[in-house]
């Protein structure tokens, strides 16, 4: 499902990723990890560094290998080749119960024959924590997620959101090295999911947790993460901050998978430092900034987010293409306008306060050179 996205705020103030400024120190390291089931290669020669204290999301379409990677981290699936290290020590041959990683499963996997308190106490009991200390830590943890009033209930007597919180608490109470979550919010309804996203972000910041979070919901990844690894067919397409992923996708797959975009094919023509002119195959010339190297004459794709496209009656902008309004759709907070002209089609999201555009009206579609991305086809 592609939810239309509001772009993430440009400033990082108050965002969770305050932790990850500066160089990342590798805490968990996946080196050249491959995994095949039979002849089918699910994860292909993957390198991934996870920094201490970061919230890393693995985002990708169904079947791209996200769960497999998480299961290799947790110790349920053995990599076919490669090494996993934690603080420099190899852990890929350690059994799951000796890895000290908290895992939150999509279906929560709460023990049905134990109460909430017993579920949360389980990892402490397994670690031989004394009864009194365990009771105290359980009480504190349960209190932190506001479940004290239901601590003596069985999982079957809890709502989905409560089960989710119990699963999370159980995975946190023993202070694991890292918390692995496989689509933990997938089973919740939209409202509760958004609430839990905030709660999780808050917990991450407050406790300084290292979290690896699997999701196929791009909005979720953009709101919660310090970094996002976008997966496709067992390989990382791009690993960067949510802002960079959204504003400067490096591959066509990322540009199309995250949010919505207008994509034009063309050739790099005249270069002037980072500023370049690109001749679109459809005819018009577009001006853009390059963030990666392109040779003159190389084929390139220009990606422009719909909310970066403006509509104007005059052509005095760096990029202005004469277009005709095909269709306008009211979307509450904005108008969605479909445009065609100069041999291309595109979508613009325009503010409702600017003038209303009638279907069939002639206009110029404009966008800033630094608000579009040039990627290799």
């Amino acid at each position: 499902m592609r939810v239309p996205l509001v772009p993430p705020p440009a400033s990082a103030v108050g965002r969770v990723n305050a932790c990850c400024e500066g160089p990342l120190s590798a805490f968990i390291n996946l080196e050249r990890i491959s995994k095949s089931f039979g002849t089918f290669k699910v994860v292909d020669d993957l390198d991934l560094e996870i920094a201490k204290g970061e919230f890393l999301s693995l985002l990708g379409p169904s079947g791209s290998g996200k769960t497999t990677i998480l299961m290799m981290l947790a110790g349920f699936v053995e990599p076919s080749s490669g090494a996993i290290t934690l603080e420099g020590k190899r852990i890929d041959h350690l059994p799951a119960h000796r890895r000290n990683m908290g895992v939150v499963f999509q279906n929560y996997a709460l023990f049905p024959h134990m109460t909430v308190a017993e579920n949360v106490a389980f990892p402490l009991v397994m670690r031989g924590v004394s009864k009194t200390e365990a009771a105290e830590r359980v009480a504190r943890a349960i209190d932190m997620v506001q479940l004290t009033h239901i601590k003596d209930r069985k999982p079957a007597q809890l709502s989905g959101g409560q089960q989710q919180r119990v699963a999370l608490t159980r995975a946190l109470v023993f202070e694991p090295n890292v918390v692995l979550m496989d689509e933990p919010l997938g089973a919740l309804d939209k409202q509760l999911r958004e609430h839990m996203q905030l709660e999780l972000r808050e917990l991450h910041r407050r406790l300084g947790l290292t979290i690896v979070f699997v999701t196929h919901d791009q909005g979720e990844a953009l709101t919660m993460s310090n970094r996002i690894a976008v997966f496709n067919a067992g390989q990382i397409e791009q690993l960067a901050s949510p802002e960079a992923i959204y504003d400067h996708p490096e591959t066509r797959f990322v540009a199309e998978f995250i949010g919505e975009t207008n994509m034009f094919a063309g050739k790099v023509e005249a270069r002037d430092g980072a500023r370049t002119k690109i001749r679109l195959d459809a005819g018009p010339m577009v001006e853009a900034y390059l963030t990666t190297e392109f040779a003159s004459g190389a084929a390139a794709l220009v990606s422009v987010r719909p909310e970066r496209v403006g509509l104007s009656e005059t052509s005095n902008a760096a990029n202005a293409m004469p277009v005709k309004v095909l269709d306008t759709v009211y979307q509450g907070d904005h108008m969605r306008v479909r445009l065609a002209g100069s041999g291309v089609e595109m979508v613009a999201k325009v503010d409702r306060k600017t003038r209303a555009w009638a279907v069939g009206a002639e206009a110029f579609a404009t966008f800033n050179p630094d608000e579009c991305t040039v990627i290799a086809p």
Partner: protein, 269 residues
């Protein structure tokens, strides 16, 4: 039931249902009152009621020993079959195991192989192993018959269990043995108990294998009833039947209660 059944069909259904129930219950109902008959013949009409045949079961050495034997062999076979059947179900759960389905079929074979065939084979084997006419031999023979029931019932429980629970437990620090003790076993307990009841009932009821492998010392209650009905038909057989039915009902009731309790532990009150 869809409302459009014709009245004739409806009546036929009822008659058929009643007939089936009658055929199931009639032999049991017919034999039970004879246990209290004071007459020396296993026959109606009952002239007067007495409990003399129960006294006979107690005082007659043959009967008393056969009851004790049934309890010993039944318990032994139940324990062996429950442990092995549960282990087999756990082992056969993993689909990676080569020949898993062939092995499963082998375990289930005693359910379909004629007991006579099994009996002849066992008698020959036991002769070689020196197990003939021993308690151990009979216990093993009965256990072979009982394992399929445990296997089927425990496998059912395992299939119904969320496989992620065990992964969750090990991610929380539980070693494989502790995962089994703390998570798997409590959750499949209803299946284990059901299997155990079937195992005990099967052993209690078993005659054919016993005929082949048991000596006079291991004569079970079922075997003794079989013998007594051919030698001297006495109402002691009816009294023994009565005991067997009551005993079976008691165990079934007890296990039903245990199952209910452990199932309640899994579900909301």
């Amino acid at each position: 039931m869809s409302g459009q059944t014709s009245p004739i069909l409806r009546i036929a259904q009822i008659v058929f249902g009643v007939a089936v129930v009658f055929f199931l219950l009639a032999p049991i109902v017919a034999i039970l009152p004879l246990a209290f008959n004071s007459s020396v013949f296993l026959n109606y009409p009952i002239e007067s009621f007495s409990s003399r045949w129960f006294g006979e079961l107690q005082s007659n050495d043959m009967w008393r020993r056969s009851i004790v034997n049934s309890l010993i062999i039944g318990s032994g076979a139940t324990i062996v079959a429950t442990v092995l059947g549960t282990l087999a179900a756990l082992g056969l759960r993993s689909s990676q195991l080569p020949f898993a389905s062939a092995i499963r079929t082998t375990f289930l074979m005693p359910m379909v192989v004629p007991a006579v065939v099994l009996g002849v084979g066992m008698q020959m084997l036991y002769g070689r192993l020196g197990l003939a006419n021993s308690y151990l031999g009979v216990v093993v023979a009965h256990a072979v018959l009982c394992i399929p029931f445990v296997l089927v019932s425990v496998s059912g429980s395992l299939n119904a269990m969320d496989p992620w629970l065990e992964r969750a437990a090990s991610s929380l620090g539980a070693s494989p043995t502790r995962v089994f003790r703390r998570i798997t076993m409590p959750i499949i307990m209803p299946g284990i108990l059901t299997g155990a009841v079937f195992a005990f009932a099967t052993s209690l009821d078993e005659v054919v294998l016993t005929l082949f492998v048991a000596g006079p010392n291991q004569r079970t209650l079922a075997r003794q009833m079989f013998a007594s009905i051919r030698e001297n038909i006495s109402p002691a057989v009816a009294a023994a039947a009565f005991l067997m039915i009551v005993g079976t009902l008691c165990i079934a009731g007890l296990v039903g209660f245990l199952r209910w309790r452990s199932q309640k532990a899994l579900k909301p009150a």
